[in-house]
Each structure stands twice: as structure tokens, then as C-alpha cells.
């Protein structure tokens, strides 16, 4: 199994990094999701050792059982990465509505390049109401 895992991890990481280096936000979100999947596969492959069976009673053949801990870890990680990906997609949707363009560099715009009036309003009133 391990060579298959290694190939899959390499492929996912490669594609993930490629997408993450894009200048647009949406591909970068997909890239992060793929990297999270690669991490899950690494942990499954690293933790899968036959000699380390779960807590079992005598008389059960150990070779038949997998260690459940890595699976529990991966399950938790899947849930967390799903939540974060959803959050990223939601902010992506909000960004697309506000800025239109899907450009990652919008993050680094400083106040000096913005309209002083809108900065003032932002500081005074807790920001635009956005529903």
C-alpha cells in the first residue's frame, strides 16, 4: 500500500502547491484543501503499523486489526479542514461581491492607497453594515 500512498501524496502536494502559487484566491483555496488531503494520507501511512494493534483481548489475531488512532486523528483533521475551507469559500464569496476581481494582492493594499473618507468611516462606526 505504501507506494500507492506515496504517489498519491506526491501528486496531491504537487497540484496543491501549484494551485496555491496562483495569483487568484479561488485556486489557492482549492490548493490548500488538496494539501490538507495530502497531510491526511501521510498520517494514515505513517501510523499504519501492523504490530501496533488496538487494545484487544487475548485470542484475537493482531495482524487482522489496524491501529484506530491514526484514523481518529485523520477524521478530526478532515472535519477541521472542511470547516476552514468553508470559511475561506464564504469570505471568497464576500470578497467577490465587494471587490469584483479575484486578485490575491488586494490583501496588501495599505490605507495610503485608499479613500481617506472611507477609512474615517471605518474607524468611527465599526464599518459598513454588510448583510
Amino acid at each position: 500500500m505504501t507506494p500507492v500512498f506515496a504517489l498519491a501524496v506526491g501528486l496531491l502536494t504537487g497540484v496543491g502547491v501549484y494551485l496555491l502559487l496562483a495569483r487568484r484566491v479561488f485556486p489557492a483555496i482549492l490548493g490548500l484543501a488538496l494539501l490538507a488531503h495530502a497531510a491526511n494520507l501521510v498520517v494514515l501511512a505513517a501510523g499504519d503499523r501492523a504490530e501496533r494493534a488496538p487494545i484487544v483481548i487475548d485470542g484475537v489475531e493482531r495482524g487482522l486489526l489496524a491501529d484506530p488512532v491514526p484514523q481518529a486523528l485523520v477524521l478530526t483533521a478532515i472535519v477541521i479542514s472542511m470547516a476552514v475551507t468553508l470559511y475561506l469559500l464564504a469570505t471568497f464569496a464576500a470578497r467577490a461581491r465587494v471587490f469584483g476581481a479575484d486578485d490575491i494582492r488586494a490583501a496588501w493594499t495599505s490605507d495610503a492607497e485608499r479613500d481617506p473618507q472611507s477609512v474615517r468611516a471605518e474607524l468611527a462606526g465599526g464599518g459598513r453594515e454588510r448583510e
Binding site: 498520517v43 505513517a46 475561506l88 490575491i104 481617506p116 464599518g127 454588510r130
Partner: protein, 500 residues
């Protein structure tokens, strides 16, 4: 076996969820939040007192014996961090009010603040590596949402780089945890420390520890992966930014303090951390010198000072570690004060740019004196707490005769003072026509309590330093940590459990 860590851990989540249930527009929201914060403070003081003597309070959740179940383990450092968090939480909750920060953002921020405290306390109290990961994620998810609370264009812009880099760090953290489990078959920190201690570290263990250190370094805002921090913190609403400046980056530092002496003393990682610390100390302060947005400037200062702490941690002697812990305590208090002041200044003058600030001088006296005390403390001027923090670090580097580290620290300190003087001159003494007066917000007395805490830390520097030294000794004593965590049995031991 003690229930106190569980209480400290779970109180914020109960409070956070209860605050979410408070109906819109209810007058109960603020009083409830303040009572919850005060309650948390009381419980945490209890925990601090219980751990200050050197005992490690261990609680096996669900009474599952240590290497099989998850344990909470509170030592001196856990108590210290939980206490600092509870103090900052109380002040943040006290300062955050609808009058000055907007009804809607207060209603959204309060429950999230408590959930953030739940995550942070979980990280401080856990004795299990994977549980540390989960606590990190709880804190991070709350922090992502808190960043969106102001609902401004700027917070929307900052969301992606912040979440992306933190998610990447979480992936490294997770892979590190998985590899360590694959190597050693345990996730319990004490058990892992014992397993790693045997013989020279294997390559895969070093790689896994490196991934952990990289993840914590990103979250602490260390060189070279620091630029998300000054981009994110200025977008937060004022008091929340103060809490973030105090506690969020220190989560990374905490995780390093916890794992480096336990798991990595034999690896090359502490040596790398010294260089990373020097780099952060210098780069952070130089970036701050060239910055004109007040909270971005302070954000770069965080990077610089986290560098000081990590340098002390990397040296890994009890003196250097004690200095790092004292520095950290001082830094959390002072940095929060500076962010409170920066928030007031920004709101009063309606701009983030120091070059355009013109606060109403008649009402800026209190603010100016708070700022001066905090800035001098940060720069390390003698009667204030920063002086003792820096003397400790300088002494530690002198003892190890690492002259270049000493030189770098001295240069960074000089530039810290220079950049603080820049803020002082531009924000309070520039000749500019005063803008239309913005209402001057609440009286800053909660911030004065923090200033007093900083002064108290200087007056009581002797006992405080002794405490830091005791904490450092406890951190370096991996063996007794392992013993305490692994001997957490109160119920039926597993070996004696009845058969099926």
C-alpha cells in the same frame, strides 16, 4: 487528580455558548459577559495558586489512564498563561462597549472571545500533543471569525492571507503529530518525551519535530514567515486587537516552550531557534522603524519581541528560559496596553496614519502618559518591567558568551526606543490643526490597571523572577513532567480491570 484544570478549561465554552443564546438587543449581554470574565479570573487565580508551588495537576479525562486516554496537565507555566489570559480577557470585555465599538460588533465579538479563551486554555492545559492541535484549531477558528467581526473592507482583505498561512501551519503541525505517532506510538507529551529520550534522535523524529517547530514559528510570527501578522492585527476592532496582540502570538511561543524542552533538546532545533530569534528581533524592529501605520508598527514590534523570547528559549539553559518567561509576561501586559492606546488614538483622530494624526491635546494627556509608560517599558528603560526582562536575557547570553546574540539584542533594543520615540513625536507632538473632535470614548481606567500591573512587575521583579526561574526549571525537567502525567491514575488501573 484534580478537577480545577477542567473547570478553567470548560468555563469559557459554557459562557461563550450562553452569550450566543442571549437575544438581540438584550441588556443582559454585557453584565453576563463581565460576570463570566470575573468568574474565569477567580477560577484561574485558584489554578495559578495551586500550580505555583510546583505541583503538576493532572486530570485524566473520563478516567482513562494516561497513555491511553487524554490528560490535562497544569504546571506552573499553564497556570501563568491561563492567568494572563484571564486578566486580559476581563479587561477586554470591560473596555468593549456598544457606545465606542458599535452595538453589532460587540454582540458578535463577545461569544467568540470566550470561545477563543476556550481554545487557548485548552492549549495551555493539555498534556497531549493531538489535543494541543485541536485546541489550536478551536482558538484559530474563533480568531478567523473575530477578524470578520468589524465587517470592513479591510477585514475582508486580510482574511485570506491570515487563514491561508495559518492553515498551512496547521497542516505542518498535523503531519508532525502523525509522524511522531508513527515513530513512537503515543501522543501523550510525557510518554513521547520518554520515548524520544532513549538514544540519539532518529532522522524521522527530527523531521517531525522540525515540522512542529515550523508550525509554531509561523503562529508566533517568526522570521521568515511573519508578514501575515502586521497585515491582520490592524484590521481587528480595538480591544480585541489588544487581546490578540497579547495572547494569540504567544500561543505559538507557548507551544514552543512546551514542546522544545520536552521533545527536542537533543535535536538541532534549539540552535536554529536562536538564529531565528535573532533574525526576528532585528527584522521586526527595522520594519517597525519604516512603518507609519500605528498598529502595523506595533505588529512588527511583536515580531521583534517574540524573537527575543525565542532566542532565550533556543539557548535552553534555565537562566535563558527564565528570562524568556519573564520577558513574555512583561510583553503580554505592555503590548496589550499599547494596542489599547493605538485604538483610542485611531478612533479619536480618524486615521491609522501617524503622519496625519492630530489628537485633541486637551484630552490626550491621560492617553499620552499611558503610552509613555508602556513605550519606555517596551524599550527597557530602568524602573519599568522591560528593563528587568532585558537584563535577564542579556545576562543569559553573557553567561553563554554568545557575543553576537548580545550585540543583536542591544541593536534591536536601541531601534525599539527609536521607533517608540517616533510614535511619541508624531502622535502627540506634531503641529497640525486638530480635526473635528471625535467623542473621546470610555475612561481608560481598565488600561491603567494593566499599566499598574507592569509597574508592579517591576517593583516585585525579585519574586517574579524567582517564579520565572522555578517555571524554567520545571520546563527543563522533562522526566518529572513525564512521571506526573503518566502516574495519573485514581480509578481502576488498566491492568487490574476485570476481564470480559
Amino acid at each position: 487528580m484534580s478537577g480545577l484544570p477542567v473547570l478553567v478549561w470548560l468555563l469559557p465554552v459554557v459562557a461563550g455558548l450562553a452569550l450566543w443564546l442571549v437575544p438581540r438587543g438584550s441588556l443582559w449581554l454585557l453584565p453576563l459577559a463581565r460576570v463570566a470574565a470575573a468568574l474565569q479570573l477567580v477560577v484561574t487565580v485558584g489554578l495559578f495558586r495551586a500550580t505555583a508551588g510546583g505541583d503538576i495537576l493532572v486530570h485524566a479525562l473520563g478516567n482513562w489512564q494516561a497513555p491511553f486516554g487524554i490528560v490535562l496537565a497544569a504546571d506552573r507555566m499553564s497556570g501563568l498563561f491561563a492567568l494572563l489570559l484571564a486578566v486580559l480577557m476581563s479587561i477586554t470585555v470591560w473596555v468593549l462597549r456598544p457606545g465606542s465599538h458599535g452595538e453589532r460588533s460587540v454582540r458578535r465579538a463577545l461569544p467568540l472571545l470566550f470561545l477563543l479563551a476556550f481554545g487557548l486554555n485548552g492549549a495551555f492545559l493539555t498534556g497531549d500533543l493531538f489535543n494541543l492541535f485541536v485546541a489550536f484549531e478551536v482558538a484559530l477558528l474563533s480568531s478567523y471569525l473575530l477578524i470578520q467581526v468589524p465587517g470592513t473592507e479591510r477585514s475582508l482583505r486580510a482574511a485570506f492571507p491570515n487563514v491561508a498561512i495559518n492553515l498551512l501551519a496547521s497542516i505542518f503541525f498535523f503531519v508532525g503529530v502523525g509522524l511522531l505517532y508513527g515513530q513512537h506510538g503515543t501522543l501523550n507529551l510525557g510518554h513521547l518525551a520518554r520515548a524520544i529520550e532513549v538514544g540519539p534522535p532518529e532522522t524521522l523524529t527530527v523531521v517531525a519535530c522540525g515540522l512542529l517547530a515550523l508550525a509554531f514559528g509561523i503562529k508566533a510570527g517568526l522570521v521568515p514567515l511573519l508578514f501575515w501578522l502586521p497585515a491582520t492585527y490592524p484590521t481587528l476592532s480595538g480591544p480585541v486587537a489588544a487581546l490578540f496582540a497579547g495572547m494569540m502570538t504567544k500561543l505559538g511561543v507557548f507551544a514552543l516552550l512546551r514542546t522544545v524542552p520536552l521533545l527536542m533538546p537533543a535535536t538541532p532545533i534549539p540552535g536554529v531557534l536562536v538564529w531565528v530569534g535573532v533574525g526576528s528581533a532585528l527584522l521586526g524592529v527595522l520594519a517597525a522603524l519604516s512603518e507609519y501605520e500605528i498598529r502595523r508598527l506595533l505588529g512588527f514590534h511583536i515580531v521583534s519581541q517574540v524573537g527575543y523570547m525565542v532566542l532565550g528559549l533556543g539557548l535552553l539553559t534555565s537562566g535563558a528560559l527564565a528570562a524568556a518567561i519573564f520577558y513574555l509576561t512583561h510583553h503580554i501586559v505592555v503590548k496589550a496596553v499599547l494596542f489599547f492606546v493605538a485604538d483610542e488614538l485611531e478612533r479619536r483622530s480618524g486615521t491609522r496614519d501617524l503622519r496625519a494624526m492630530a489628537p485633541d491635546r486637551a484630552h490626550a494627556g491621560g492617553l499620552a502618559s499611558i503610552f509613555l509608560l508602556a513605550a519606555f517599558s517596551l524599550a527597557g528603560i530602568p524602573p519599568l518591567s522591560g528593563f528587568f526582562a532585558k537584563v535577564g536575557l542579556f545576562r543569559a547570553t553573557l553567561e553563554l558568551e554568545s557575543w553576537w546574540a548580545l550585540g543583536a539584542l542591544a541593536i534591536a533594543s536601541f531601534f525599539t526606543l527609536a521607533s517608540m520615540l517616533k510614535v511619541w513625536r508624531l502622535a502627540f507632538f506634531a503641529e497640525r490643526p486638530a480635526k473635528a473632535a471625535v467623542e473621546s470614548g470610555p475612561r481608560p481606567w481598565p488600561v491603567w490597571t494593566l499599566v499598574c500591573a507592569s509597574i508592579l512587575l517591576a517593583i516585585a521583579a525579585g519574586p517574579a523572577y524567582e517564579f520565572a526561574e522555578a517555571t524554567a526549571r520545571q520546563l527543563l525537567d522533562a522526566r518529572s513532567y513525564a512521571d506526573a502525567v503518566l502516574s495519573a491514575t485514581s480509578g481502576v488501573a488498566l491492568a487490574e480491570a476485570p476481564g470480559p
